[in-house]
Symmetry: C2
Subunit: 347 residues, 2 copies
C-alpha cells in the first residue's frame, strides 16, 4: 500500500505551482514592508525552522540583508523585550496554530518589528495576525512528516527574498515543479535508492551534511530521519563537521552529503565526501552533479536548478529515502511514535 | 594515569579566577563600544560556537539587545556584503588563529560593524585585529577537547554582557571558581558518575537537551560526546526535541537533560525528563536541583549559582563524564581520532 507520505511527496509539483502562482502577485506587499525594514528575523520550530535556515542564507547571500533566527524562549519563557525597530520578523508555521510561534510573532510586533506570517493555515491565528500573510497552497497534509508543506514554505521564502531585492530571476521558480517530477521518477528508477535504504537500515546513526544555501536541507533530512526512522541523524554544516564531530564518522556511521550543482560550497562538499570515504565510512551523495556523485559511495540524483531555488528540489530524494527506510524498518511513515501534526512545545 | 583533559578540567577554577580578574577592568572599553552599537552578532565555530549560544541568550535575556549568530560562509564562501552598521561583531576563537573566524571578523568590520575578539591567543591575529580584545587567561590547553578555554570564554562573554548593560551583579562571577571546585569533588564522589558512564558505554547515541541560557551547555556536551566518545549525541533544545525528534528516544537512546537550579526553563526541563522516562528511556540529569534529580534515572550535581553564570559550572560534570566515558571506551580523551587543536575549516 502506498503511504500518505509517498502520496504527498508526489503532490509537491502541483502544490508548488499553485503556491508560486498565488504568491508572486504579493511581491508588491512584500516590497512595501521591505522598505520599512533593514534586516530579517525568522521565528520557527521544527521543519519550519529548517525552512528558515534556507531563508536566512538566501536573504543574506542574494538580498544583502542580515537575516538570523530568533530564540523563541526569550519571548515566551524569559518574557524579555528587545529593540526590534527596523526588523522584519518572519514567522513560519505549517498550521499557523503553534502557540509558541504565534506568541513570539506578536511579541516581535510589540517590540517594534514588522511581521510576515508564512503558513498553510488560511484563517489561522498566524495568518490573521501578521502584517503580511504569505499563504502556502499545499492543501491538507495528513502524514505527520512534513513534505509538501515544507517545500511550499521554501517557495514562499524564495518569493520573500525576491521582494527583499534578491538579484535573481523569479521565473526560475516556475521550473521547479517539472524538475521535481523528473527527480521523483529518476530517484525511484535509481538502484542507489534501494541500496542506500538497505545500508541505512543496518546502522544506528548517520551524519547529514551540506553548507550555505543547502544547509537547511541537511537539517531537514536529519530531522526526518530522526522523526520517521528513529535514526541518530546529526545535521551539521561541513565546516562544523570538520571542526570536531568528524570523529564520529566510521564504518558504522555513514554520512549523507548534499549539494546544489552550481554553488561556491560544492568544492568543500566534494572534499568532505572524499575525507569521509578515506576514513572508511560510506557516503551517500544527493545532488552536487558528477563531482559529488564520483566522490560518493552511492549517489542519488539532485535537481538541475539554479542554486537559489535548488533546495526546493534537493530535499525530494531525501524524502523518498526516509519514506522507504521507515517502511523497511517496519515503521508507518505516516504515524511515527510520539508525534502529532500540530505541535505545542510550551513548558 | 591521569589524562591531560582531566588535569585541565581541574585547572578551571584558577583559569577563571585569573580571567575574571583581568577582564573586569576592561568593562569601560566594552561600554564604549556598546554605546556605538545596538545589537550583537557572534562569529564562532565548534566549542566557541556553543559559547556564543550562551552569550546570545545572556545578552538577549539580561541586556535586552538582539543577539544572533553569523553564518561565516556568507563572508568566506559566498563573499557577500551585508549592512552591519550598528552591529557589535563578537568573534570567538580559542587560538585566535582559525582563518575562517578571523576572516569573518574582518569582513564584519568592512561591512560597518564594531569588533570584539574573545580569544586565549595573546598576540594572535584575532586579538591584534579586533577593536577590543577580551583575552581569556586559560594558559596552554593541550588536550584536544576544549575545557578551560571554553569556560573562560563563557566568563569573557559574561563580562561582555555586563558591559552591554546586563542587570546582574558582576560579583556573582567571583563565586564561580570555588563552586567548580566543590562540583568536581561532588561529581567524582557521586556513584551516579560511574553508573552513568557504564550505561552510556553500551549505547550508540544519546539526546542532550536543555533550554535558554543552559542550551549552549547541552550543545557543548553533545559536541564533546561526539568528538571524544564517538557517540551519536544530538544536542537539542527541549522545545525542538518535543516538536519531533522525541521519536528517537527509546531504551537504546537515553537523554542527558541539563538545567540551572533557578531558571524559568526548569519546569519544562523537568517535564521533559518525565516524558522521556515514561517513554521507557533512561534520563541522566545534570543540575536542576532536587526537581530535576527526582525526575531523572541518575542525577549528577549542578552548580549552585545564579542562572546567568550557571553555565560556567554546569558543563563541568559533563566534562568529567566525557573524560571517564572516553577512557572506558578505550579512547585517549586527549587525542581523539581525526582532530587537531587549531582547526581550519575552509573549503
Amino acid at each position: 500500500m502506498t503511504s500518505r507520505m509517498r502520496h504527498e511527496i508526489g503532490e509537491q509539483p502541483d502544490a508548488l505551482r499553485t503556491t508560486v502562482t498565488s504568491l508572486l502577485p504579493q511581491l508588491d506587499a512584500v516590497r512595501a514592508v521591505a522598505g520599512r525594514t533593514r534586516q530579517v528575523l525568522f521565528i520557527a520550530r521544527g521543519s519550519s525552522d529548517n525552512a528558515a535556515v534556507y531563508g536566512r542564507y538566501l536573504v543574506e547571500t542574494h538580498a544583502g540583508r542580515l537575516a538570523t533566527l530568533a530564540a523563541p524562549s526569550v519571548a515566551t519563557t524569559y518574557r524579555r523585550r528587545l529593540d526590534l525597530d527596523g526588523v522584519l520578523a518572519v514567522a513560519i508555521s505549517q498550521s499557523g496554530r503553534t502557540e509558541e510561534i504565534v506568541e513570539t510573532m506578536e511579541w516581535a510586533r510589540s517590540c517594534g518589528a514588522v511581521t510576515v506570517g508564512v503558513t498553510n493555515g488560511e484563517g489561522s491565528p498566524l495568518a490573521e495576525s501578521a502584517d503580511v500573510a504569505l499563504l502556502t497552497r499545499a492543501g491538507d497534509e495528513l502524514a505527520v512528516p512534513a513534505t509538501k508543506t515544507y517545500t511550499t514554505q521554501l517557495a514562499a521564502l524564495a518569493v520573500l527574498a525576491v521582494g527583499l531585492g534578491a538579484q535573481v530571476d523569479p521565473d526560475d521558480l516556475l521550473q521547479v515543479p517539472a524538475e521535481i517530477e523528473r527527480l521523483i521518477a529518476a530517484t525511484e528508477a535509481s538502484d542507489a535508492l534501494d541500496a542506500a535504504v538497505a545500508e541505512l537500515a543496518k546502522v544506528p546513526g548517520t551524519v547529514v551534511s551540506a553548507r550555505g544555501i543547502a544547509f537547511g536541507t541537511a537539517l531537514e533530512l536529519a530531522l526526518k530521519l530522526k522523526e520517521a526512522c528513529y535514526l541518530h541523524a546529526m545535521g551539521l554544516s561541513y565546516a562544523d563537521l570538520l571542526h570536531g564531530p568528524i570523529a564520529v564518522v566510521d564504518a558504522e556511521t555513514p554520512a549523507i552529503v548534499l549539494g546544489a550543482e552550481e554553488s561556491p560550497t560544492l568544492q568543500g562538499t566534494v572534499a568532505l565526501a572524499r575525507r569521509v570515504t578515506e576514513a572508511g565510512a560510506r557516503v551517500y551523495g544527493i545532488g552536487g552533479g558528477e563531482a559529488l556523485a564520483e566522490a560518493s559511495s552511492l549517489a542519488l540524483p539532485g535537481p538541475r536548478l539554479p542554486e537559489w531555488v535548488a533546495p526546493l528540489g534537493l530535499i525530494v530524494p531525501g524524502q523518498l529515502l526516509v519514506e522507504r527506510l521507515a517502511r523497511t524498518l517496519g515503521i508507518d511513515p505516516d504515524n511515527p511514535r510520539g508525534l502529532r501534526k500540530v505541535t505545542q512545545t510550551g513548558a
